[in-house]
């Protein structure tokens, strides 16, 4: 196989681009995934400009309108309305904004913290490694959902709390994998050469190690995007996450739950939004992983 990979001893960057292009031709999956994710991002950034209605605008007389293809439905509310006559499509679009905001902050923070700790543990070893590894063990010994409930009980609810909980849960993921990666990189010739040549530790970390774990981070971040969306939806579904009047997909499902017998669209539409974004991010992440790391060292 001629594809350039991070596992090679020569951390070239040019080869990677070639690989991406070559793979992209081979399959439609990443393209479709990118389109879906692009759409979600577009909703998040520009949603208010093209949403048919304002997400929190209530119209009681139009409450529980079914989607347009059912009798009683109309194109004014393509995906129907909820109990308060709010437009489901507009709320899904508004929910994208919350999901993406939470995901971006959570990924940046947990990725940043996790990577920094993982690189330090892997490169320095010794006490640093022992402490960080133990921290990872402890963190991983508390199931995420109960931990989330603990923090929900002490912190004011909202985006900040959700992000905090996700960062607390996910940093170990990055730290563990990056640590493993660095452990193997450390023994590679180009690092040894740098060390022998007297390059300082910070320099090695920044110039030589970080670029080589970037691929891994990109894969993890892509996969985490879907994961965060599901996690946030779960918290909001329980009522512990995003609070109204802010709109979230999980919160919409929770609202619709009591009307499952009279309005099926309330619990299907937001779920489809969750599923589509998560599916897209997982597929893209898998594809990136296969591309960067055919030996599948990343979980």
């Amino acid at each position: 196989m001629a594809e350039g990979r991070v596992t090679s001893d020569h951390p070239k960057t040019g080869a990677r681009t070639v690989t991406l292009v070559a793979r992209g031709r081979a399959t439609r999956v990443p393209v479709v995934s990118c389109v879906v994710l692009g759409l979600v991002l577009l909703c998040a950034v520009a949603g208010p400009w093209f949403a048919p209605h304002e997400a929190s605008e209530i119209a009681l007389a139009e409450s529980m309108t079914p989607p347009f293809w059912r009798s009683g439905g109309s194109l004014d509310h393509p995906l129907g309305t909820d109990m308060l006559g709010r437009d489901i499509l507009s709320r899904i679009i508004a929910g994208a904004r919350v999901s993406v905001t939470v995901a971006v902050y959570a990924i940046a923070l947990s990725g940043g913290i996790g990577a920094a700790l993982g690189i330090s543990a892997g490169y320095f070893g010794g006490i640093a490694d022992a402490v960080i590894s133990r921290l990872i063990d402890i963190q991983m010994s508390i199931p995420a959902i109960p931990l989330a409930m603990l923090f929900a009980a002490v912190l004011p609810p909202g985006e900040g709390m959700v992000i905090t909980i996700i960062v607390l849960t996910y940093w170990t993921w990055y730290a563990r994998i990056v640590r493993g990666e660095v452990l193997s990189l450390r023994e590679r010739d180009f690092i040894t050469v740098a060390r022998v040549a007297g390059v300082s530790n910070p320099m090695i970390l920044i110039r030589h190690l970080t670029p080589n774990v970037l691929n891994t981070l990109l894969v993890l971040a892509t996969l985490q995007f879907g994961s965060v969306i599901v996690f946030e939806a779960g918290l909001s579904f329980l009522g512990l996450g995003i609070q109204p009047p802010q709109v979230s997909w999980g919160g919409m499902l929770a609202d619709g739950r009591n009307f499952i017998e009279v309005a099926w669209w309330l619990i299907t539409m937001p779920g489809i939004a969750i599923m589509a974004s998560c599916l897209a991010s997982n597929l893209l992440g898998d594809w990136l992983r296969d591309t960067f790391d055919p030996k599948r060292r990343i979980t």
């Binding site: 929190s56 605008e57 009681l60 409450s63 109990m83 109204p244 009047p245 739950r257």
Partner: protein, 528 residues
């Protein structure tokens, strides 16, 4: 080969399923029948002397009884009292009560006047009771004999005691002293038609018919009753439809029509005595809500007609202060019309041209149907009119806590609130609790401070003459309405009960129609 595995798996699953099916049981018939019903909300207290909210009645009413009671037709009748009279002696008012004889508690003790005096002592102890303030006009409850007692007022009588059925509960003194508060909560004992068997918090309570009940003619027609707590609407409805329970309360408004069309099911919608309102914290005159124009803006901003029609499917009655049919109801008093432009204008006049930001506490209990949705709609209307809500969701327990004085955090904005006006709709006691300013046993859920209204509420409290009382209520209602004091009344929910027609059930108003007194199997001859 692969096919075999699939077949084996299918076989296994089938076996599991049939096992599970076999486990479904049949139910006993006749006198020994065991009926399972489901309530949406669950009380936190069973002890009538420590109750903090109307929902507590749901279990209390099974075990405990009062001297007087309202019947299914909402008339007051003697209950544990054989007779009673209100009279004046040397300028002091008294209520003389003669007790019914031969009434026994579940543990066999006989009910005497000492038990009722013990109840009084507990009721008026602020360390135990939230309603201690209710007894401010009473000097003592005097025992004249085993079956005779006197409620002695300090001077004028308390007019709120009558609609509260004299507010004394038959609790067993000896048992209370023996087991203490926790013991009572764990195993309540009263004179009611049901005996406590077991309780599993957030799941169910099981009770058994009390065969030594003082009125053998009105014993329940079933031996055992299990009340399941199923807060989720969908769950409760499904439990009813699949036959897991035979009776449910709070049929979701959106499904009432569907229930009415179902054969073999009886459905009844009844007005609850629960009055809902938006509490506004008007204590700080410099805060926006301290300004009456802002409070009026709140009242004009919400389209309650639409809320009742579209969210509640008509399962609500718009109220303006006093319940229709109750003493002092004034049909001339009209609700604030829905007019967001007027709201905005009022805000401008008050100096808040750019609107205000306010915390809005949304009560999300299953206690009444669709409270959460109604709350969200109300707050969305407010926001649209420039009263921008930051919504805080409150579960029942958290709501009770929010209402506690010196609570952290204090209710500092607008909150959806409720206050039962009792079976007879008399506002005297509720107004003492949420209109009269806080302090001295008054206003324990009040966010208003208006000395003039305080004085009127105090006068109302000691006005027993029906005509004088009605005109005072009318005048108070008008001022309360004008000043938007003690909150903006919204509506009175209807509660819809449904039961399978194999049951015979007559709703009694206790516990907001959830009193399981007149219940039995339809096949039986009626109890009376």
């Amino acid at each position: 080969m692969g096919r075999r595995v699939v077949a084996a798996a299918a076989l296994g699953a089938t076996c599991l399923l049939s096992l599970a099916l076999a486990a479904e049981d049949g139910s006993a018939v006749g006198e020994d029948a065991h009926v399972v019903v489901a309530f949406a909300a669950e009380p936190t207290q069973i002890d009538p002397t420590r109750t903090s909210a109307g929902v507590d009645q749901y279990f209390m009413a099974l075990f405990y009884e009062q001297l007087l009671a309202a019947g299914p037709d909402l008339t007051q009748r003697n209950w544990l009292a054989e007779s009673w009279r209100l009279f004046e002696r040397d300028g002091i008012w008294l209520i003389g009560v003669e007790l019914r004889r031969g009434v026994r508690f579940h543990n066999g003790d006989e009910l005497t006047a000492h038990d009722l005096r013990y109840c009084y002592l507990r009721q008026r102890d602020p360390g135990l009771s939230r309603q201690a303030g209710r007894w401010r006009h009473v000097a003592d409850v005097r025992v004249l004999g085993d079956y005779e007692l006197e409620i002695v007022f300090k001077g004028l009588p308390d007019s709120a005691l009558l609609p509260l059925n004299l507010d004394l509960w038959a609790i067993p003194r000896r048992y209370y002293e023996e087991v203490g508060n926790d013991g009572v909560q764990a195993h309540p004992i009263g004179t009611g038609p049901w005996k406590f068997v077991s309780r599993s918090v957030r799941e169910e309570i099981v009770v058994e018919r009390f065969d030594d009940y003082w009125d053998p003619d009105s014993l329940p027609g079933v031996r055992r009753l299990t009340i399941k707590i199923i807060p989720e609407d969908t769950t409760r409805v499904a439990a009813f439809k699949t036959g897991a329970v035979d009776w449910i309360d709070a049929v979701p408004p959106a499904q009432v029509a569907d229930f009415e069309r179902t054969s073999g099911v009886k459905v009844v919608s009844l007005p609850t005595s629960n009055n809902l309102f938006l509490a506004l914290n008007a204590l700080d005159p410099r805060s926006p809500l301290g300004d009456v124009r802002v409070r009026r803006a709140v009242a004009h901003a919400i389209d309650f007609e639409a809320i009742i029609r579209y969210i509640l499917h008509g399962q609500g009655v718009r109220t303006v202060q006093v319940t229709p049919g109750a003493p002092g109801h004034d049909p001339a008093l009209r609700p604030y019309v829905f007019d967001p432009d007027r709201s905005r204008a009022l805000l401008r006049q008050a100096g808040y041209g750019r609107g205000i930001n306010v915390n809005c506490y949304n009560l999300t209990t299953p206690r009444e149907p669709y409270l959460k949705e109604v709350g969200e709609a109300m707050f969305a209307y407010l926001t649209a009119a420039g009263i921008r809500c930051r919504i805080v969701q409150l579960e029942y327990g958290a709501w009770i806590n929010l209402g506690r004085r010196d609570a952290r955090p204090e209710m500092d904005g607008i909150a959806s609130w409720m206050w039962g006006h009792g079976a007879f709709g008399d506002p005297t006691d509720p107004w003492g609790g949420h209109l009269h300013s806080y302090g001295d046993g008054w206003g324990w859920y009040s966010y208003h401070d208006d000395p003039e209204l305080d004085e009127m509420v105090e006068t109302l409290r000691v006005t027993v003459d029906p005509e004088a009382k009605e005109s005072l209520i009318r005048e108070l209602a008008r001022l309360k309405h004008e000043r938007v004091a003690g909150g903006v009344p919204t509506y009175r929910p209807l509660v819809t009960l449904a039961w399978r027609d194999r049951l015979r059930f007559v709703p009694w108003p206790q516990a907001n129609w959830r009193m399981m007194r007149d219940i039995g199997l339809a096949a039986d001859s009626p109890a009376r």
